[in-house]
């Protein structure tokens, strides 16, 4: 019973967050200084004819009370009636639905790969504390993480695509070829390789640093010292005692990181002209297509909240004590 309540409480927490994000998205353009019409439709408003302008005002109910506007907004949101992007000349929802899978592919492969590498290297450095290896890993990874992502991406394109010709220069797939089956998969992977590598290289430090830190902290704990006094073999102490316990704080960092994974893809997708949400957002910014910016922001935020909710549910798998607590109460 209690377990059910706890899970539900988490769910309520996330539902409130979703509601807040949705409302934030509505109020931001309306509360900012300036003409809301401009804030909502973008600067191209001056190019519109009187009738088009009327249509926009009609569409967003700008003459109604803010409350009426809000309920209309909510209704349109739920019914996926998100309006039309005037820069893409397509319904916003279909533009975004087409882009979302690419971002998910990029972001989640990055999350998984960079986390695994980060944990591996963090363990290596932490266990070798006070040795050269640790200092090299620490300074090397810090330096790499201080490089701007788009810049590294540009360099990769120059070196690997333009000069060496190993990888395609842009896009998520070959637009002019009709690949099917396995060759299609290979084509997508070839396009994925460079943007993914850039993201992975830059994301390693986000897990590496906490892992190394947590490991050093755990190594100083009494129970690790006692394990040695108990004559437990070194390898068991390392993995079952030290690494296992260091993973706990790292997992909470990981949970926070889930929220950041889509951040990186905005910039990287722009550099590689990758057809995901980030690229859409960039296109929308450069044409000041505000409705499109807003809805891509909303979609990214919702995906983040959902991923956070999922990781929250996964937490008991990492920490058995959480489950045990529920069982006993």
């Amino acid at each position: 019973m209690r377990k059910l309540f706890n899970r539900n409480r988490k769910l309520y927490h996330y539902i409130i967050l979703i509601f807040l994000v949705i409302s934030f998205n509505f109020f931001l353009p309306r509360l900012l200084p300036g003409n809301p019409l401009v804030n909502i439709m973008g600067e191209d408003i001056s190019l519109l004819t009187m009738e088009e302008r009327e249509a926009v005002i009609e569409r967003y109910n700008l003459n109604d009370s803010i409350f009426k506007q809000y309920t209309t907004y909510l209704r349109n949101l739920v019914t996926l009636n998100w309006g039309t992007s005037y820069s893409k000349k397509q319904p916003i929802s279909s533009v975004l639905w087409a882009a979302a899978p690419w971002t998910l592919l990029l972001a989640f492969s990055n999350l998984v790969i960079s986390t695994l590498i980060g944990i591996y290297l963090g363990t290596k450095a932490g266990l070798k504390r006070r040795k050269k290896e640790d200092v090299y890993l620490l300074s090397g990874i810090s330096f790499i993480s201080s490089m701007p992502s788009f810049w590294l991406g540009m360099i990769f394109i120059s070196v690997f695509s333009v000069n060496l010709g190993w990888f395609p220069i842009y896009g998520g797939y070959s637009m002019w070829q009709n690949y099917t089956g396995i060759s299609k998969v290979i084509d997508v992977l070839r396009h994925l390789f460079l943007p993914l590598s850039t993201l992975v290289i830059l994301s390693i430090s986000n897990i590496f640093l906490p892992m190394r830190y947590a490991l050093i902290e755990v190594m100083g704990e009494d129970f690790v010292f006692m394990a040695k006094a108990k004559g437990i073999p070194q390898s068991i102490i390392r993995y079952k005692y030290i690494v296992r316990n260091a993973l706990l704080p790292v997992f909470t960092v990981f949970m926070l990181r889930v929220g950041y994974i889509f951040s990186g893809s905005v910039v990287i997708e722009t550099v590689f002209a990758y057809p995901g949400l980030g690229r859409i957002m960039y296109d929308a910014i450069s044409t000041r297509d505000y409705p499109l910016i807003q809805y891509s922001f909303l979609l990214i935020s919702l995906m983040v909240i959902l991923s956070n909710y999922i990781t929250d549910l996964l937490y008991p798998l990492i920490d058995p004590r959480v489950v045990n607590q529920h069982e006993n109460t």
Partner: protein, 248 residues
Amino acid sequence: MEPILKVEELKVWYGEKCKGDIIKGVSFDLNLGETLGIRGRSGSGKSTIAWAVMGMMSHLKGGMEGSILLDGKNIGNLTEKEYKKVRWKEIAIVPQAAMNSFHPMMKIKDSIGEILKIHCKITDKKQMQDKCEELMEIAHLDKKVLSYYPHKMSGGMKQRAAIAMALACEPKLLILDEATTGLDVLTEAEVLRVVKNLQRRNNMSILLISHDPRLVEVLCDKTIYIEEGVIVDHSTYHEADLLEAKAV
């Protein structure tokens, strides 16, 4: 009779040797089935002796010299690998920080089971469960504590679980380092009774480290009093205690 533990001219230091010793040449011996009390103020180096006997100085970033004879065999110069076989099978310890000495994500039965598996080569599930339950009984703990995680247990429970764990392989020598500090009087008496019974049953020798003269008086056959790394007294009550008693 050949003593079970014979320590001669033990010198122990932390950090580098040149920085000076914590223990400056201590010798004592302990007979089979007897209890030796080590007393002294905090910081006098009592616990250091315990860790030196356990061969843990290298893990404490220190070193030692002198001989430690366990059952006539010098264990002071064993390598880390050889020492791993001595620890817990022949010498076990209930440390001062017993509260924090459990793996926080392992149930008590898994912690004890791990030791049984590594040192006593017990792999059979049933046999392991029986042994764990027996140990719980010895330490006066309920069987269901076996499936607890440490964070759910009170200080007294953890202390007794630590004793159960120390007795898992029926060691020849048990070191109790302030094992009952922090327990309330009733629990303390309970724990001590358990230990005393066991000593009689297994003919086990005990090194009891405590700041408390009452405890040492009740439990020990012999006592040494350590001050600044040397033995200054062999009587149960040291002059410092008498002074303190007067002051109170």
